[in-house]
Symmetry: C2
Subunit: 400 residues, 2 copies
């Protein structure tokens, strides 16, 4: 196992504390897939509890700081499928992880790596989910945790989480992209382990989403669609599918489809500009706070995933996100955070554009639980007026 | 299988829409345990996905409206155990159910029963978790859902859930106990299925917590400790252990320990009064909204569970609850809602009182996720002031 630059190919030891290559390129963990291929016996998978660690042969750490992350439900969403004109639609509900988002899959590996490296301080910048997750795993491992957040731009539930888990939370007057720059500098200057998704070990945990989809579906779907913020997850899931392919476990690959918010869509713009120049969105805006990122650090990995898989990336408006969130809840009893509704909003567009066909098998990734951001729901509705505690008043109000 | 009154023993068909006996007593589902005992092969359990339905032989319905509830983590909380002076402390995190509370276990059975009975409207009164859960399962089954809540006394996340899942939410000017009276009357007058925990089918789902504890621990714990609101869950879990005992799967039983909030402690008072007279608490008060119930409908079942198991019930203050919530999060990275912290607050007292010994195996039930009620956390802390996006300011703030 080594860390390899995806730009220039230079390799580094996995025991070096390093997040990017000297050339500035992103690093990724390069496993010895041939060795894994010879050793693996997938018939043994059934015997293991359904967590991230079921796939430990593909994970680059030996220590385990775990909160039993992973093993999230893959829902066959038949009511929703019928409504939007699909046959086989599944939602992989990553909001069912311990802290309520997919970040837990990455953090269990990232914090375990910090322990292996002998570092007892961790830090991240966050739109909310990353900080909640890092703070929880740091608490379990009893490490010091520092969280830099864009002031006023983080959902209520997520802020409460980081604080109660005991992280030191520092809001800054700036956006997520500035927070990430700052925390990177902080980690460089002090002996603190950076746990944003530029950390390649984080993505190793997240790639288990791909493994689980195959495990639960019994097959590889035609398309996997998910929200894109800092662009780590789409990169991670694609890496997972490719590793299973290289290990001979699967014999086909899905198309990877990203969905960004219209106000924070730098990768969509990059493709529209014929991939000439990647330009960050200076002032990203969307009420789907989890993807309110203008300068996604993993954009080169995401672009690779989309191109290699013959996928695509599109953007949706906040209103489309809101409608999709309500639709998922109403039709399926599944409550997801705003960013996680973006894939369903995107699907509706892609069906209209004929990019997706009726009988394809689609897996949409819901990255976070709706309880992360209750205000997004409550801001747009008025709670009905209280009625006197009287059966006739009640019958009148209900209209039965 | 029949419905049997726990007071007078009268039996009713399980196909009758009925929640209490003509004598006013509570009903419970009486399974044919001898038949189950002859049919069951627990070595087959390993082959089933870890949901409530793994134990379908013990569940009194054939239909399944499911969101993959159950299979929640049983955490070995070693940091916390050490801190409060125990050896083997586990937290069963029911907040990891689909809508974030243990209610989902009951609702999957209750809503399935509604379908079997051919009723397409469901209703409940709720301090929040019940309504969120019922609304979700009603959405999946595409039933009409009516929710009566005490106005202003329900946590933010829970309100958002009931609304977005599509339930008709009616706040009333009154408390939970009044809401329950009203909704019972509503269900009597119209063809609506009542899904509060007076419904014996709800408790059938919840009893699977006992089955899972045994499954995950590989043994029966010495003590099970949990919050008591409407008193359905302590009754249900005790029923589960007893059924496994009667079926010959386990050969011992745990003590059942309930914890109420000091301001909503009618069952504690009942025991203190030497069980002479059960008096509801007229104006229940606690910021742990999930257990803000003065007249728990299942109190006779709860009293039976506590007495039969040689358990106990105690009360804790809101401050003790708050401290326990922070402790669980800080030591273990587990965020639970206020009511769910009550058992840990209670444990600390019981250790001091020598009711619990150092080397006993204790399972504390965390009934709901902390994300249900982020304001409980945010109300008691001040979010730090935002700093300028500058590394020197950041270093100064962090103090490194």
């Amino acid at each position: 196992m080594v860390l390899r630059c995806i730009k220039c190919g230079k390799e580094y030891s996995e025991n070096e504390v390093r997040y990017t290559c000297n050339c500035g390129g992103l690093l990724e963990v390069k496993l010895d897939i041939e060795r894994i291929k010879n050793e693996i016996d997938i018939s043994q998978y059934k015997k293991h509890p359904p967590t991230v660690w079921k796939y430990s042969q593909f994970l680059p750490v030996k220590r385990r700081v775990s909160l039993q992350e992973g093993g999230t439900p893959l829902y066959f969403t038949d009511n929703l499928a019928k409504y939007i004109g699909l046959k086989n639609l599944f939602i992989k509900h990553e909001g069912m992880n311990p802290t309520g988002s997919f970040k837990d899959r990455g953090m269990t590996v990232g914090v375990s790596k910090a322990i292996e490296l002998g570092i007892n301080k961790v830090a991240c910048a966050s739109t909310g989910n990353t900080s909640a997750s890092m703070a929880a795993y740091a608490a379990k491992a009893q490490l010091d945790a520092f969280v830099i957040i864009p002031s006023g731009k983080i959902a209520l539930g997520k802020l409460a989480q980081a604080i109660i888990y005991g992280a030191k939370v520092i809001p800054i007057k700036g956006n997520f992209d500035q927070s990430l720059e700052l925390v990177s500098e902080l980690c460089k200057r002090k002996e603190i382990y950076l746990l944003n998704s530029v950390n390649p070990f984080r993505l190793e945990g997240q790639k288990t989403i791909a493994f689980e989809i195959w495990d639960q579906l019994g097959d590889v779907p035609d398309q996997v669609i998910l929200p894109v913020g800092n662009a780590g997850n789409i990169s991670a899931i694609w890496k997972g599918f490719k590793e299973f392919y290289d290990a001979g476990i699967i014999d086909k690959l899905p198309k990877m489809i990203g969905v960004q918010a219209l106000g924070a869509n730098p990768i969509v713009r990059y493709f529209k500009s014929k991939e000439i120049n990647f330009e960050p969105v200076e002032k990203p805006e969307t009420s789907a706070t989890a993807i309110r990122i203008g300068n996604p650090v993993n954009w080169p990995k995401a672009v690779r995933a989309i191109k290699e898989s013959s996928g695509t990336i599109i953007d949706v408006t906040d209103n489309e996100i809101r409608d999709a969130q309500t639709l998922i809840a109403n039709k399926e009893g599944i409550f997801v955070e705003p960013a996680s509704a973006a894939p369903i909003a995107g699907l509706i567009k892609l069906i209209n554009d004929d990019f997706i066909k009726y009988d394809e098998t689609i897996v949409a990734i819901a990255t976070g639980h709706g309880l992360k951001d209750p205000n997004f729901v409550l801001d747009s509705i008025s709670v009905p007026k209280a009625v006197p505690p009287n059966i006739n008043e009640l019958l009148k109000t209900i209209g039965l």
